[in-house]
């Protein structure tokens, strides 16, 4: 009965015979483990399509909202961070496999006549893979994505006809906006996959047409069958690749930074790791020479790669006799490694807030308002002003108080001007954040804010949009200094920052802890 089903299908579609026929390929006796990489690359590509489709189910392809939806995927959707990590690390591991596949083909001389077209299709597939990386890089819409893509498009602009290319990408005029984003997304999910699939079909067709490249002397030996021996090797290689992917997904967190901020001039963009060598290479070319490093030389390199079968026309394929090819491959590998290592070593440590952690309401409101919450709590105002009830006195967390400062002075009588000031800030500038903070702000943070407010830190420093500009903005202080530095800095600012105008503050140990914890807890906006 079960046996009848394949027969039924095959008689009507011929598909099973076709698959049999496809697997029944003759391969040279020398075929072996070195020829599994193409299958792994194909599998990696299909997995990228699959995980990419899954991500698209929860993704909004517009600037700003893209980041919101990605954060939703990694923080709220079940297994969302796993699917995203599979797509992210899958891309990196696919690049590695594609490059290894090319290196193997190169070293074994498999590009030689009559396989030139197969090789050129392969080079185009490598370029398409890189284009996937480039277009996908923007789609997270964090600072890394935004600034990295700004630099990439500027480099494209240097090429001859670059301005036309930028117009097509919607990135004319130096910025990346809605139009450019839509086009990067469209390229990433429609154009590039279709081109890649088409070229893969051509590539595999050509491999079948010419047969797997035999080793010298193979011609005389009996042929083997592709199935099952080589299929077994391919499957094992794909499995090993999947295990590597599994390790990356499980062990290495994929970052999502803060949402892209076109005004954040402090951000130093770096490309994805597989483009770092180009980034470093570009540093050798300054001023008018830049176009050479950015466009001319990489263009020549790609052209030379594509035309390799016509440059190296000798018939020698025995790997032991391919000194030149081996030397070229070694120099390329060494150069790539050296450039990448230099780029990594010279990349400044650039801590950023984790975009997946949402700041609590109390971390977003100005210190004076948080201090006001402290006064509110200490004076037990909520005994009468009960949240959720308008009796016996109004719920101050739910209304905007329209009394003026004099009225409050009278109402509060016993409080100091400083404390009244804090309450005025809290009660007259009510937002959803202050309401939430009233209910949820931890006591230690509130006390820290009270110290901050009592010492008038905001006359020089800005925190959450409130304060002066004599000293540096304190949002994101934790990215710039460690806790011990901040703690020690209070008592002797001059020592840490020569020429600092900040007066010394000698807090008692408890207060020092509190204010340090408080300022260190306020994230970069």
């Amino acid at each position: 009965m079960l046996r009848a089903i394949p027969k039924f299908i095959d008689e009507r579609t011929g598909m099973i015979s076709a698959i049999r026929h496809f697997l029944d390929e003759d391969i040279p006796a020398s075929a072996g483990w070195h020829q599994v990489l193409g299958s792994v690359a194909l599998f990696a590509f299909l997995l990228q399509i699959f995980t990419g489709f899954l991500l698209a189910l929860n993704y909004a392809p517009t600037p700003g909202e893209a980041w919101d939806s990605l954060r939703y995927i990694v923080t709220q959707v079940a297994a969302g961070s796993i699917i995203r990590a599979m797509h992210h690390w899958g891309a990196s591991l696919m690049i590695i496999v594609v490059v290894l596949h090319m290196a193997q083909t190169f070293l074994w001389g498999a590009y030689k006549k009559p396989r030139e077209a197969t090789w050129i299709a392969g080079v185009l597939l490598l370029l398409l893979t890189l284009a996937f990386g480039l277009s996908g890089y923007l789609l997270t819409w964090d600072n890394r994505a935004y600034w990295g893509t700004i630099v990439t498009t500027r480099i494209m602009g240097l090429a001859p006809g670059g301005s036309v290319l930028l117009r097509m990408l919607g990135a004319e005029g130096g910025g990346i906006g809605r139009v450019a984003f839509a086009r990067f997304y469209a390229a990433h999910v429609t154009l590039l996959p279709l081109l890649t699939l088409g070229l893969i079909v051509l590539h595999v067709y050509l491999v079948r047409k010419h047969g797997v490249t035999p080793a010298p002397g193979d011609e005389l030996l009996a042929k083997k069958k592709f199935f099952p021996e080589q299929v077994f090797r391919d499957t094992v290689a794909i499995f090993v690749w999947c295990v590597a992917l599994g390790f990356m997904v499980a062990l290495v967190k994929v970052p999502l930074g803060r949402i892209a901020d076109p005004t954040d001039t402090s951000y130093v963009p770096r490309p994805e790791w597989y483009f770092l060598f180009l980034f470093q290479f570009l540093k050798f070319f300054q001023g008018p020479l830049e176009v050479f490093g950015a466009v001319v030389l990489p263009g020549i390199a790609v052209a030379a790669l594509a035309l390799m079968p016509f440059i190296d026309r000798s018939a020698v394929v025995k790997i032991q006799r391919r000194f030149a090819a081996i030397s070229v491959a070694c120099v390329a590998a060494l150069g790539w490694t050296a450039l990448t290592a230099t780029a990594v070593a010279t990349t400044p440590r650039q801590p950023d807030e984790d975009g997946t952690v949402e700041a609590a309401a109390w971390q977003r409101i100005p210190a004076s308002q948080l201090a006001g919450i402290g006064v509110f709590r200490r004076e037990n105002c909520s005994n009468c002003h009960t949240p959720g009830r308008s009796q016996p006195a109004p719920d101050l967390t739910a209304i905007v108080v329209d009394k003026d400062a004099n009225w409050m002075k009278n109402h509060f009588k016993t409080l100091s001007d400083m404390e009244i000031g804090a309450l005025v800030q809290l009660l007259t500038k009510r937002t959803d954040d202050t309401t939430e903070a009233c209910l949820k702000a931890p006591d230690e943070a509130v006390r820290g804010a009270m110290i901050y407010h009592a010492n008038q830190c905001s006359s020089c420093h800005t925190l959450n949009g409130e304060g002066g500009d004599v000293g540096p903005v304190l949002n994101g202080l934790r990215l710039r200094h460690d806790r011990e530095w901040v703690k020690a800095h209070f008592s002797a600012p001059d020592k840490f920052t020569p020429g600092s105008e900040m007066p010394a503050f000698n807090f008692n140990p408890d207060d020092l802890e509190r204010i340090t914890n408080y300022v260190m807890s306020i994230p970069k906006l």
Binding site: L54, N58, S69, Y72, Q76, A78, A79, I238, C242, R389
Partner: protein, 163 residues
């Protein structure tokens, strides 16, 4: 009848099937979780004040339009929505989800027949939400509601409770 060739071949086939199966299962598990489990919600259930009790009359349903904040995927949205309120006694109200329980059309109150009527497929509900005619499979869905300080609060996040 196992020769070295046939054992090798069956080892190949066995390994191909095993590893393919493992990879398929490893991919299928996160995919199933991703597609089938509900995303974590960041919403607490919200009681919303939608009107004053003084605007209602016993036995006279009112469609109350109100604003509510809701999490829609990755976005917090504020949107206009409505509920049918029926004051049953002096200090008691019932709030109905404004969608017909048949296929979700908006029904309305017909004052002459004193019934809720759905224009789509002719479902009719009495003032207490019971189906009196038409294809509706169950009474109107109710929102939890309460009266506090002269105002009517409803909790539209949990619309499943039936009349």
């Amino acid at each position: 009848m196992s020769t070295p060739q046939t054992t090798r071949r069956s080892f190949y086939l066995y390994t191909i099937n095993l590893l393919t199966g493992l990879v398929a299962v490893a991919a299928a598990i996160p995919t199933a979780v991703y597609l089938l489990l509900r995303p974590k919600s960041r919403d607490a259930t919200n009681w919303i004040e939608i009107t004053d009790l003084s605007r209602l009359r016993v036995g006279q349903p009112e469609e109350i339009v109100y604003n509510r904040k809701r999490t829609d995927g990755w976005r917090r949205v504020e949107e206009k929505t409505s509920a049918w309120l029926v004051q049953t006694r002096e200090n008691s109200v019932v709030a109905y989800n404004p969608a017909c329980t048949h296929l979700g059309c908006a029904y309305h109150w017909d004052a002459s027949s004193a019934e809720f009527e759905c224009p789509c497929h002719g479902s009719v509900f009495s003032i207490d939400g019971k189906v009196t005619a038409g294809p509706a499979p169950r009474p109107l869905d109710r929102y939890p509601s309460r009266i506090q300080g002269g105002a009517v609060f409803i909790n539209p996040e949990s619309p499943k409770e039936s009349a």
